[in-house]
């Protein structure tokens, strides 16, 4: 298991290295370059040249990359002239809020989807399975913003239990949990439908496996067959999905944050994109990518714990 983890960790590091190269490349391929992005199109050639010298932009690219990488590793991701704040500070404020939103909604989604898929697989093609499948299909095909609007309608306007905006969120779950409720629910429901469909089909496949017949031949009850045998073997695909759905959930959070006015990285990204604030945009891209790779690494580790055969590979 240690060898397996180390191998996966090594692969994750390589991925991050490649991503950093791409981010650096994009930074330098910007039309007019970084300097124009900062000074605007009306700057004089002298202004441009002096800034280029100041920022070290005339040195060879590999050197520039190493310098950039070294400062990025130390937490220096550049400076946002638009917001007059270092990118690191901005990310330190906004990104954790997004991660909180994403993680809570993913965990909630998994803890609903796994038991639900297990039940649906067991009750395959009965009325309750069909009803759940239909509901999930509706949720799955609905755009996130529409789902969010419906949730606001139901839980704020009709039943006033949750606030309709999360703009006051202070960063602590303990005090401001209610603010998070609707954004989390919106992000979570889309994922529940996604995960539970996979879980259901994994359970159906596993119930047809020979080892289930062996368990029944031992005299195991249906409950035992499901919980002790089928559950673990069916979870592998869902865990892989969890890792894969991370980037898609993070981009989903952009819409949710905009909808609920939640002060997270998505909102920051949205605003920076409108202001052409490239250092902030790329900083967010870098951090989110690293987080995605890390998430997939964790999913691989969980996969190895669930399925002993994977560890050998």
């Amino acid at each position: 298991m240690l060898g397996y983890s180390l191998r996966r960790f090594g692969q994750a590091l390589i991925t991050i290295f490649v991503v950093s190269l791409i981010v650096f490349g994009v930074l330098h391929a910007l039309p007019g370059g970084l300097v124009r992005a900062q000074l605007g199109s009306k700057a004089t050639a002298i202004q441009v040249h002096s800034l280029e010298v100041q920022e070290g932009l005339l040195r060879p690219l590999p050197i520039q990359y190493l310098t950039w990488l070294w400062s990025a590793l130390r937490g220096n991701l550049g400076f946002s002239y638009k917001l007059n704040e270092s990118v690191a500070t901005l990310i330190g404020t906004y990104v954790p809020r997004t991660f909180l939103l994403v993680l809570v909604s993913l965990l909630l989604a998994v803890s609903i989807a796994i038991p639900m898929g297990l039940w649906q697989g067991y009750r395959r093609n009965r009325a309750d399975d069909h009803a759940l499948s239909a509901t999930m299909l509706i949720l799955y095909s609905m755009p996130t913003f529409l789902l969010g609007v419906i949730l606001i309608l139901v839980f704020n306007l009709w039943l006033p239990v949750f606030p309709s905006t999360a703009s006051d969120f202070g960063g602590s779950l303990a005090t401001d949990a209610a603010d998070l409720a609707l954004p989390v629910l919106t992000l979570c429901l889309a994922n529940v439908s996604y995960f539970s469909r996979y879980m259901r089909s994994a359970v159906i496949d596993n119930l047809l496996e020979d080892y289930v017949r062996t368990a029944k031949a031992k005299g195991a009850t249906s409950r035992r067959v499901l919980l002790r045998h089928v559950l673990r073997n069916s979870m592998t695909s869902t865990v892989t999905l969890l890792g894969l759905s991370l980037p898609y959930t993070i981009s989903g959070s952009l819409i949710v944050e905009a909808l609920f006015n939640y002060p997270g990285a998505g909102l920051l990204f949205w605003n920076s994109a409108q202001n052409r604030d490239f250092p902030v945009l790329l900083g967010i891209v870098l951090v989110v990518t690293v987080a995605t790779v890390a998430g997939n690494f964790l999913a691989d580790i969980a996969y190895g714990i669930i399925d002993p055969r994977v560890r050998l590979r």
């Binding site: 060898g3 191998r7 062996t214 368990a215 029944k216 073997n233 669930i306």
Partner: protein, 699 residues
Amino acid sequence: MTGRGLDLTPDLHQHPNVLEVKQLSTHIRQKRFSIQAVDGVSFTVAQGETLGIVGESGCGKTITALSIMGLLPPGGEVVGGSISLDGVELVGMDRAELRSRRGSTVGMVFQDPLTSLNPSKTIGWQIGEPLRIHRRANKKEQRERALELLSLVGIPAPAERIDDFPHQLSGGMRQRVMIAIALAMEPKLLIADEPTTALDVTIQAQILDLLDGLKEQLGMGLMLVTHDLGVIAGHADRVVVMYAGQVVEEGAVGELFASMKHPYTQSLLSSIPRVGQDRARTLSSIPGLPPDLASPPLGCRFAPRCSRAQENCASAEPALGQVSATHQYACHHPVNGPLEPATAAVAVHERGPNGNGADRRVLVSARDLTKEFSLHSGLLQRRVGTVHAVAGVSFDIYAGETFGVVGESGCGKTTLGRILVGLESQTSGSLLFDGTDIATQSRRELCRLRRNFQLMFQDPYASLDPRMRIGTSLQEPLVVQRQGDRKARSARVMGLLREVGLRPEAVERYPHEFSGGQRQRVGFARSLVLNPRLIVADEPVSALDVSIRSQIINMMRRLQAVHDLTYVVISHDMAVISYLADRVGVMYLGRMVEVASSTELFKRPAHPYTQGLLKSVPVPDPAIARTAGRKPVVLGELPSPINPPSGCHFRTRCPFVIDLCSKEIPQAVEVAPGHSVSCHRSQEVYSGDLVVGSTSVRD
């Protein structure tokens, strides 16, 4: 219900019956119709007795077993009759009560030990689980019992193995684990459904011996479900022959084999190729296919395939005939005893001049052929070891002959076959095809050469594109090789289909529309399309039922004569090899340990491994199977090909091992012209001074 029963008189047995099945009928409901899988079946199993249930696939033997277990597939239902287990009626029993008997009063061992074990639980957990279920045992008790059971089923060093996962064990070890699970609660009845079909003959002999011993030790009844009359002959006390959901004959093993009455039993027995069979004659086979059980025929169900059928067979169900108190059958026109070999069949087609070595022209010549696969592991995927799949193999194949390759799974025979047809390239050594070195050819030359050698696969279903019509699949090689125009290709395919005994309509069909035997005919036609000179057939009949198997074997021999083909037949089945091959090579752990003519090799093997393999083959004759000493002669398992034993690879399992064996690799020596062996003691083995199995075997 149309069933009829074969009632036994239970007082003939000294022991009480643990299982009494009477007039059992089981149907499986499908969407539009119902399959009458089991129809009026009756039999008993006494304590300490082994009842064999034999029949081809689809005859209802597995459904009978699953009816007893209450584990029928979806739609399956016992619609009539009674199942009495240890004096308690199971039909109509409350589900919870039935469950409490599963795994405690009756245990079951399934065919495929890999898929039948939960991949994510340790074997110790899985063996201990029945105790948790039936006795609410705690973890410590479960573990202790698991250790006990692991040593009972003969797993060495149980304490080191108990925390292993199934994928870490070999096939034979997994089947031992399955047996341990079934025995955890010391059941009165053990049902073993094809317990050794997925295993090698050497391991099969070990597992069957284990089951025999455990049955006696624990005093349980054993119901042995198999398609293999050889297994029945050696290990069952009584046998029930099933056909199309019914019992057609039933009796004590010795009596039934000596004086069988039902033509089906007779044909089943005579269609099995045997080691040392007269190769000049074709194998007898049963024409046609078993009936569709959704609407079973009236009268005798075997009548459409029976050579003795007369008018009354199709109209009236045969009544029960009683030979003796222990032998009954259901047939209007019974036979008397097994078919005499002399009357079995007509002579095989005469083969071309090369067939029997008149003109010994070498077609394929292999010298020191080696194929290595490297294993990678660790963070940087460093090379940590090498699998020597084929380790320095030399042999010649003569034009027009059939060269057989035998050995246990993992011995490298499939890899060798793939090298022969150019699907793998050798790591070192030379391979000449008709004097041309394949390894040095350009891509273009190789493509042109390839039409000369073709591969015939074991599983024709998996090797045909499921979304391609048969006609398109068969034409593809011609398209790839740019041969003929559309019309010529189509004519070629039609001609081939006729040759392999398929109707021309087959071109429009998809693979799933064919039966297993028909698909293998398609597979064979595909390998013939380019008019090759050499066909490498990898386990060509292993996936088929015995009656179909002999049809395919006969076809292969017929077409070999017609087209002057050279065959390489790779198989683990000694009897098939002995019948098909002119010369045979025996492989062990990547090395060719013995090469000889088929007649010589099977009569006078000079390598202890060949001897052991031969003695492990179940003989479908109780007289031989019981006297030859039923103990397995090759013990242990194939060592790892990553770290093979030094010197002679076989020394770890050889009863005649001496000091020299671990020090020196035995070189091939000729004990007789054309008979070469790699063994330090080949002279003694060849002369008959050393015979595997007759001396005390090293444990």
